[in-house]
Amino acid sequence: MSNFEPKIVCFLCKWCTYSGADLDGTSRLKYPPNGVVIKTMCSSRIDPEHILYAFQQGTDGVFIGGCHPGDCHYQTGNYKTQRRVLLLQKLLQQMGINFERLQLEWISASEGKKYANKIIEFTDKIRELGPVSRMDGKEDIE
């Protein structure tokens, strides 16, 4: 397990987290290269089916970055995302996939450092959890 490098899909909202991730570049902050970004106009564009599809295709983790509550460029998209993610985490758990493999974070365009730190934390956590398997979900989400 020591050489395990997880594969991660990151869905980032164009208005906040994607710009925050760009800021890491301009500030030359470093984080692990495991995640590859798919840019969406809003985190609410991310259909739960895409997340399930990613797990089906063998991702070890899915990271979603959206605007802070109240800051959504489209007024309420991030609330929709939060509801969907919470529900999907329960569903993942029932499917036997540890819900922690799906993480949602609010990261603004000015929070480059937060993005780098969250990606470092998330990658470490997924490294610890090991490769995705249907059997790694805990019994109960609560």
């Binding site: 570049g25 106009m41 609410s44 895409h50 489209y74 998209g77």
Partner: protein, 647 residues
């Protein structure tokens, strides 16, 4: 299958040093659909763009992927380039391998592998991209400017001169902002009011400018070119057409409150003119302090008013204005001085903030321009100025530099010296930042000719002993403790966005930085625009600024707006939602989820209003039958991207 070209940029060494561009060029050559690959030192340069255009013509490419910097920088550059060779601009995708790859990773092997995945996912997206035509929408040729300080006034005048209508909204009863409170301005020592009031009068009289003072913008709805602003106009209770400015009402008014214009150093009545040169030139009743007229508790002012200009029955108005663009010029406030307990502000009357000192220096101030200290009305024989009060102190206060304090403190010291020639001033400073035209000369002249003493260090404590103030500090150049006995202490208080600006930014969905200043679309190349289309930034709302910079930015933002207004209609991003009629069951879930009211049911099918849709995609992930899709970001495209990323 679409014929795709891939162009990998070295960005000098920025990408090439961490990402093996030659290897990518080789390894992606047999990727499905890719018929041409090239890497080059600077793709964004003219030769780089020509290389792309030549390849499109020679290899009959249908679309291209440019692996380079973030799309924020050069997406439009490459879109324009391919449009020149008649390829639709939506047949171009950026693979962000600089900001999100080469700049954030160290190991070349890892970065190269990641860059490959980024490029592949861009190819997959491009493969299913449609050629789109921007949706055109009408353009309302009117502009809303929020904030009537020097920035808002300058922008309003420029746009009005360009022939377009301006709605200027100011929260206070008069325009003029902080600049009208200033005595003289650095580095030329022009009288601030003398240079500002003519502009205020122009703004008040200009036929193209509608001024709403005592008003606030509550909401702005719509999209670039077609906004509707809701403005709350608080009543002034005095009809400016009837008012003769005789001042009988203020003599009659029994309520005395601290005067905001003089920063609390003098008093005004509950019915008042903010300052003699106020525009609009009229009295206002301050309802917060008036004894009230529902029922009438006092009524003295109305009885005293001969022309019968006072009407207590005026109600708050809600005004709706149609506009095409918005300039935010909400300005600044001083960092709350209550947070600086160690300097004794509020406890000792002889500890002032910069704006208060500005009022004492001013001919229209509480002392009529005579240098007197507040506690006992004597002439201060020495003054200690404390710079960076609240600024550059990330542990306890603001982390940013407030930019103007070095200069205004020196201006204060100079003006003090002119008024009290035998007086001595001391300035505690961390660094002197005098990076403006003729600013350094201004400082050097003051030090060599006016005998102002600069002490590098911070003040720990200010307290009173007898009728003197004692300032305890440290001179960090000599390492010695300092104790200065002084008559007056002036704090060069740091700058924060104005009160309410943060709330406004929130309700308009404009992003702000940690301190609450508005974030520009690009810090260097698009400093006057917000990322939110149709919103422009100017003045201290975007960051601490002196008057020349604020005015320059105001005219800059005005020029941007004038360029927009010169169009007959605006084009609206076509990356929006659409519906597959065959799949739509007419359930209507998308209608409730759309924040813009862009979805309606027509003949049992939920259609999309192209002009109203902003393309967030919330309806797409909500659609249970997969009938709703986003142009150029369909479910298939996302899934294909996921598939190659996980390859």
């Amino acid at each position: 299958m679409k014929k795709i070209g891939v162009f990998i940029c070295h960005c000098g060494v920025n990408i090439k040093d961490t990402v093996d561009v030659e290897r990518l060029t080789e390894e992606l050559a047999d990727y499905p659909g890719v018929v041409y690959l090239e890497n080059y030192m600077f793709m964004c340069s003219d030769p780089g763009q020509n290389l792309i255009k030549k390849a499109i013509a020679e290899h009959k490419l249908d679309g291209i992927v440019v692996a380079a910097c973030s799309p924020t920088l050069h997406e439009s550059t490459f879109q324009n380039a391919i449009e020149e060779v008649d390829i639709n601009k939506y047949q171009m995708e950026i693979a962000n391998i600089r900001e999100q790859c080469s700049w954030v990773h160290n190991v070349k092997e890892d970065a190269t592998l990641k860059a490959k995945l980024i490029i592949k996912s861009a190819i997959e997206k491009l493969r299913l991209n449609e050629s789109l035509i921007p949706v055109s929408a009408p353009l309302t040729k009117r502009v809303l400017i929020i904030g009537g300080g020097i920035t808002g006034i300058q922008a309003a005048l420029d746009i009005a001169d360009g022939g377009y209508e301006v709605i200027l909204v100011e929260k206070k009863p008069s325009i003029g902002g902080h600049m009208i409170q200033l005595s003289e301005t650095f580095p030329t020592l022009d009288c601030s009011q003398c240079i500002l009031t003519p502009k205020m009068v122009q703004a008040g009289k200009n036929k193209n400018i509608t001024l709403y003072a005592n008003s606030e913008v509550e909401s702005i709805e719509g999209f670039m070119g077609n906004f509707t602003a809701k403005i709350i106009r608080k009543p002034q209770y005095v009809d400016p057409d009837k008012c003769t400015m005789c001042d009988d009402c203020t003599s009659a008014c029994p309520v005395v409150v601290p005067d905001e214009y003089n920063e609390g150093l003098s008093f005004r009545k509950a019915i008042y003119v903010p300052f003699p040169q106020a525009i609009p030139s009229s009295y206002t009743i301050d309802m917060e302090h008036c004894l009230g007229f529902e029922p009438i508790a006092c009524g003295e002012c109305r009885e005293a008013c001969e022309p019968d200009a006072i009407n207590y029955d005026v109600k708050t108005e809600e005004i709706s204005e149609k506009i095409g663009a918005v300039i935010i010029a909400t300005g600044y406030d001083l960092y709350p001085v209550e947070n600086m307990a160690e300097y004794g502000y509020g406890k000792y009357p002889d500890v002032l903030i910069g704006l208060q000192f500005e009022r004492i220096l001013s001919a229209t101030g509480p002392t009529g321009g005579v240098m007197l200290r507040p506690s006992d009305g004597t002439v201060p024989k020495n003054i200690v100025f404390i710079q960076c009060s609240g600024s550059r102190d990330p542990e306890r206060h603001l982390s940013h530099c407030s930019k103007i304090c070095c200069m205004y403190t020196l201006k204060h010291a100079k003006l003090y010296k002119h008024k009290v020639p035998d007086g001595q001033s001391y300035i505690f400073y961390i660094d002197i930042r005098s990076g403006g035209k003729r600013y350094e000369e201004f400082i050097q002249q003051a030090v060599s000719e006016e005998g102002i003493i600069y002490i590098r260090g911070k003040v720990a404590k200010v307290y009173k002993e007898g009728d003197k103030m004692i300032v305890h500090g440290m001179d960090t150049l000599t390492g010695k403790k300092m104790e200065i006995e002084t008559d007056l202490v002036v704090l060069s208080q740091g700058i924060v966005p104005s009160e309410g600006a943060r709330q406004l930014a929130k309700s308009l969905k404009l992003s702000t930085d940690e301190a609450g200043f508005l974030i520009e679309a690009h810090p260097k190349l698009r400093p006057l625009e917000s990322l939110q289309s149709g919103f422009y930034l100017a003045g201290a709302a975007q960051g601490p600024k002196d008057i020349p910079d604020a005015v320059a930015q105001a005219s800059g933002a005005a020029a941007k707006v004038l360029a927009l207004m010169a169009n007959d209609e605006i084009s609206h991003e076509p990356v929006i939602a659409y519906v597959d009629d065959n799949k739509c069951s007419g359930c209507g879930i998308c209608i409730g989820i759309c924040p813009y009211g862009a979805r309606v049911l027509e003949n049992g099918i939920a259609i999309v209003n192209d002009v109203l849709c902003e393309g967030c995609g919330a309806c797409i992930s909500a659609c249970p039958s997969g009938a709703s899709q986003q142009r150029n970001l369909t479910d298939d495209q996302i899934n294909n991207m996921i598939k190659v990323i996980l390859g």
